[in-house]
């Protein structure tokens, strides 16, 4: 099965070298072998080439073989003459075999690519189905909660205690927020899939941005988020909205997927022309075998529970790559995962200048 197709030039060179080399070998030993043997060997070579290469190179090899045979091996030597039926036949057989082989091989290749296409299509359908399953779960669960809770509130209005009413109302709130997050994720994903979105870069105070992200996290008393701002951090020219989404997804994930009482710590830094941010936690960490997979669309770690679309990290990756930056995950020596993003960007040290 042909793996990678070689360029026409390479194919041509290989074909010619092969034919010439075999002919030369035959010529050297012409005293011991009959010209028919050389003819058969060359025929074998041409047939083999026909399986591997495109018709053009194969035809050249066939014509070359026929000519060489006629010129060097068939009397009168060193002269082109198709004077007897035998050598004329030989000439045409070469061309014919080359053509037949080429046509057959071509058909085979077409079939292969058809199979590949079908496999690809099946794969796409599989991904699409995963998407539909994941989506319908992620969207319908909060919708079901909202509708059900409202029914309860309406129909059992008189028997509900004030506390129960409040509890049901806050369920509606949680479900609506979840729905909103999922829709946001989907909108971001479709922005990425559309491919041609423009970065809107502007000077960004990363310390301020991180504090804004931390304030936006869903309220929780179970995890601690630590950020100690570096007052000397310069300004960076990035797409503030995209970086905000990336940081939100990373920090929110860290809070969601680490055990209660875990701590999430955010570090900032910069090197020449790069903004670097780390989101580190002291949870269970990421199995090294999953480190690359978790950035894939809809991929979720085994046993990571329900309530998550598998989109957050792939959006993060997409947004960082839109900046030509890099995102990766590692494990802390002391346990826990560290997500590192690095974004190449302009840096302004104006912040550290004295006030005017």
């Amino acid at each position: 099965m042909p793996t990678k197709k070689k360029s026409t030039a390479t194919q041509l060179i290989i074909s010619i070298v092969l034919v010439v080399a075999l002919s030369a070998l035959g010529y050297v030993f012409r005293k011991y072998v009959d010209y028919m043997a050389v003819a058969l060997i060359l025929l074998l070579a041409v047939s083999t080439l026909a399986i591997l290469f495109d018709i053009f190179s194969v035809l050249i090899a066939a014509i070359l073989s026929a000519l060489i045979l006629n010129f060097f091996f068939i009397e009168p030597y060193l002269n082109y003459k198709i004077n007897d039926t035998e050598s004329a036949l030989l000439f045409f057989i070469y061309i014919f075999i080359a053509l037949v082989n080429a046509v057959l091989t071509n058909r085979l290749r077409k079939q292969e690519s058809k199979i590949r296409d079908r496999e690809e299509k099946e794969n796409t359908i599989k991904i699409y189905n995963t998407l539909l399953n994941s989506l319908s779960h992620e969207l319908k669960t909060p919708i079901a909660t909202i509708i059900g809770t409202i029914d309860t509130l309406k129909e059992s209005d008189t028997i509900l205690l004030p506390d129960q009413r409040m509890e049901l109302l806050s369920e509606i709130g949680i479900a609506s927020n979840r729905l909103n997050t999922q829709v946001e994720n989907l909108l971001n994903m479709s922005r990425l899939e559309a491919g041609n979105f423009q970065l809107k870069t502007d000077w960004t105070d990363i310390n301020e941005l991180i504090f804004i992200v931390i304030r936006k996290l869903p309220e929780n008393n179970t995890h601690t988020v630590v950020f100690d701002p570096d007052e000397k951090l310069p300004l960076f020219k990035v797409d503030r909205g995209l970086v905000e989404t990336v940081l939100y997804n990373l920090i929110n994930n860290a809070v969601r997927y680490t055990p209660v009482k875990s701590t999430v710590t955010i570090f900032t830094g910069y090197t020449d022309g790069h903004l670097n941010i780390k989101v580190s936690d002291n949870g269970k960490g990421i199995p090294p075998s999953e480190a690359d997979l978790i950035f894939n669309k809809f991929y979720r770690l085994p046993n990571s529970g329900t309530g998550g679309s598998g989109l957050g990290l792939s959006i993060a990756k997409g947004f960082i790559e839109a900046h030509h930056g890099n995102i990766s995950v590692d494990n802390n020596k002391s346990g826990g995962a560290v997500f590192t993003i690095s974004i190449p960007c302009e840096i302004s040290y104006l912040k550290n200048l004295k006030n005017e």
Binding site: E184, L187, W203, D205, R215, G241, L350, N355
Partner: protein, 228 residues
């Protein structure tokens, strides 16, 4: 005292209903328009105290409605918009909208914006003293007092603070602030704004990392508000 009137211009009946319930229960009179044309007509007839205008209208573009309104209407206009339409919001604010809210919004946030818009006091050339919470600005003497103590500000910090306090409750876009404080040629130099806002916050915010007075409107601008 007469109840202040709010005109809602939005084509979504559910949103209009939600707004109406909240405005009425907070003591406002409410009128509604489902299209830009109807909105312009009602605005001219009623002269409401506040207009809540949705940018995504079916007949006339919200921006167009805003432009026509601003030819004569000087009272607060609050813009409603769907999320992630920063440029639409910036355009609307530059066309004279006072404030904006993105859908989905929290009702608490909505009412805070309405309250802030309705106490929108206009300052003119005769204003000498600006007061906002713990901050007192003597515009004649160019002296700022914070909690009664004189605050040392650079010339730029002073101009920036005055601009923000004068427009209390209103969102000022980056471009507007840069143009007003630094001049036309600085409209793209947002790094200056970031630096000076950070410095100003260090001087007037209890916790500069959690600002309560100078609020960042991500990707849009800044708003000065009194802590409530």
């Amino acid at each position: 005292m007469n109840k202040p009137t709010i005109l809602i211009i939005d084509d979504e009946p559910q949103i209009r209903r939600l707004l109406e319930i909240n405005f009425v229960s907070n003591g406002y009179l409410v009128r509604q328009a489902a299209s830009g044309k109807e909105g312009l007509l009602l605005a001219a007839n009623l002269i409401p105290d506040i207009i809540v205008l949705d940018l995504g209208l079916p007949d006339i573009k919200g921006h167009e409605v805003l432009k026509v309104l601003r030819e004569w209407y000087t009272k607060p206009i609050l813009i409603l918009s769907v999320q992630s339409n920063e440029n639409d919001i910036i355009d609307a604010l530059d066309q004279g909208a006072n404030d904006y809210l993105t859908k989905p919004f929290r009702v608490g946030e909505l009412m805070a914006r309405i309250r802030s818009a309705s106490r929108n006091k206009t300052t003119d050339e005769t204003t000498q003293i600006l007061e906002a919470g713990n901050i007192e600005i003597d515009l004649v003497g160019r002296v700022v007092k914070f909690k009664g103590e004189v605050l040392k500000l650079t010339a730029t910090e002073y101009s920036l603070l005055v601009m923000l306090v004068k427009n209390e409750g209103k969102v000022l876009t980056h471009q507007f602030l840069l143009k007003e404080i630094w001049g036309m040629s600085f409209q793209a130099e947002t790094q200056y704004l970031r630096v000076f806002i950070a410095q100003l916050r260090k001087k007037i915010e209890e916790n500069p990392n959690h600002p309560q007075l100078i609020i960042t409107e991500s990707g849009i601008g800044y708003r000065f508000q009194q802590s409530t």
